[in-house]
Amino acid sequence: MSQSYSLSTKRQPMALKLLIWGFIGLWLIIAAFPFLWTLWGSFKMEADFFSKADWFNAILAPRTIEDHGTAFIGQGYEGAWVQEEFWKAVINTALVCFFVVCTSLTIGTLGGYALSRSSYRYTFWLLITALIFRAMPPITLVAGYLLPFFEWNLWGHLTTTVIVLVAINQPFTLWMLHSFFQKIPKELDESAKVDGCTQFQAFRHVIIPVMWPGVITTGLFSFLLAYNDFAVTSMLLSKENQTMVPKIASFLGTTQTEGNVMFAVSAVVSATAPLFILVMFFQRQIVSGLTQGAVKG
């Protein structure tokens, strides 16, 4: 496949063209098909989506039609959202994500700005420390939280989880915003200071109006971290405060044995849908965020 590269599309021989199209088509299927399949299957009965007789039943859904008269049923969703109260988890996720993103960006912007504007040696050591912290697996930190959180009765609350996620998020946020602020010319706020502004006023009136592209990109990644987290949320939240991902995991333990695996399938589709929309609107920002750190070397 590595032979498939060419400078311009015009000079590709037919065979190579077919090979490229075939490979990219295959990748497209590998990447997207599992999600479409699960979305389709979430409207079927378990006997069809996990058919012992014939996998084709998942497409035509004979059992679903037989029992319900229609090929599309919402029972999985009803069971998950109403019976198992998935809506609570959705609200909790919304709360956690909102507060994590806001807090993380506020303190991260201040810190990242300071790191980009100070020329002393200690900024380097702070950035290195942040890099080491970024490498720590969250689950190892959770082992350190539990004992003190139990002792001081902090365990189980949404607030605690938000603060922990903000902290875990900081190393990445700092690096990203630091490199973003470095691209904003220093002369901008230097001249404001010459005109008599304090450092904070310069930040407030000169930097804040121009920093939004970088802040939005960073905010997207903070959101994804909070939204996708499993290690912290599953360990630090009590049952009634669970967010979506640990809630789905709890479906696996309890309801799968009762034959309600479709609850979990529907919940997974419900949790993926917002990400779908997010990528649709913010594709450019996500791509630029992913490449930002890398392309600079």
């Binding site: 060419s6 990219i24 904070f200 997974v268 490449t291």
Partner: protein, 341 residues
């Protein structure tokens, strides 16, 4: 920037990291050398007409008092590190004495849970990382050769496996690979074995997890390499073409050297990220065949009896592993920084 204003700007974020990243690491270190107190026992002697019997009862009050006084437990040094659930020093030494060959030694070592988890974690890390690099590079080269208009759609769908939570992504694949799911049925048909189940064998479970790992991580390398391809110096490539370089030679001698810094970056990041593989093991429900170090910690922390000391010990060992993989990243950052200033 003045020291004082720097201090105030950095204070909130530094406090957050200090309290919730630095201190927990210290806390984990301390917990790993402590173990919960044993219950305080009292022996009472009951003498009756048929002689004396001693009964042992737990002194609830004294036990609680002791636990309240020192919630950390008692100091045991490195004992937990060496016990059977972790490094299993005695068992390893015994295996070493009894083993007839090196191969037999490693086979026996596989019976110890920690070493089994370590074996999976390392295999996962060192297969997924090169595979995702190669796969990502192939997609990037392919997409780059295609027509401009469909690139947006391609990038959109490529981002999905990476952006969904690892637990959700692994569940989606797990349901397809189930023996009653579409992929599971396809494999049964392909190998003409109606009893084939990916969940039943260790080898197949490992392959399944590695396939998931590549599926999840390839988009990242694709996006980064694709961005790198956009900055490819066209004149170098053209002169290579004039010199008669074949397409393969162009890739080998022009494109890959150009992308090398990015390849190193992605590889180093991925080694660290893959080493902490955790959610897929929960999603694929694979702990019987493949557990990782992170899953060990999760397992100790969850459940009725929270084995905090054991989890802390596994955490310290995981942190040591991560630190080893982190060293080249730190050296690189150090070099970059010194080159700049």
């Amino acid at each position: 920037m003045k020291h004082s204003s720097f201090f105030w700007f950095i204070l909130p974020t530094a406090t957050a990291m200090l309290l919730f990243i630095a201190l927990p690491i210290v806390s984990v270190l301390i917990q790993s050398v402590h173990t919960p107190h044993d219950a305080v026992l009292i022996e009472t002697e009951n003498c009756g007409p048929f002689g004396c019997t001693t009964a042992t009862t737990i002194d609830q009050e004294a036990t609680r008092a002791l636990r309240d006084e020192k919630p950390l437990g008692k100091f045991v040094g490195l004992e937990i590190y060496f016990d059977r659930g972790h490094l299993a020093i005695t068992e390893v030494a015994e295996t070493w004495r009894n083993a007839e060959s090196i191969g037999g030694f490693f086979a026996d070592l596989n019976n110890l849970p920690f070493y089994r988890a370590m074996a999976f974690t390392l295999t996962f890390t060192f297969t997924v990382t090169p595979l995702m690099l190669v796969f990502g590079l192939m997609i990037a080269l392919g997409v780059n050769a295609l027509h401009q208009r469909i690139k947006g759609v391609l990038i959109f769908f490529s981002l999905l496996p990476m952006i969904v939570s690892p637990l959700i992504g692994s569940l989606v694949l797990f349901w397809m690979i189930d023996s009653r799911g579409i992929l599971g049925s396809a494999l049964q048909w392909f190998f003409e074995d109606p009893d084939l189940s990916m969940k039943a064998s260790t080898g197949l479970t490992w392959i399944m997890l590695i396939v998931y790992g590549v599926w999840h991580a390839a988009p990242f390398s694709f996006i980064v390499f694709y961005a790198g391809l956009q900055t490819l110096p066209q004149d170098t490539l053209e002169s290579a073409q004039i010199d008669g370089a074949s397409r393969w030679q162009q890739v080998r001698y022009v494109i890959i050297p150009h992308l090398m810094p990015l390849i190193t970056f992605v590889a180093l990041m991925q080694l660290m990220d893959n080493f902490r593989v955790f959610e897929p093991i929960v999603g694929f429900n694979s702990e019987a065949h493949a557990a990782s170090l992170s899953w060990f910690i999760f397992n100790d922390l969850g459940g009725e009896t929270r084995l905090l000391s054991s989890a802390a010990t596994s955490s310290v060992l995981t942190i040591i592993g991560v630190s080893i993989l982190l060293t080249p990243v730190l050296i690189r950052t150090w070099r970059d920084f010194n080159a700049k200033s």
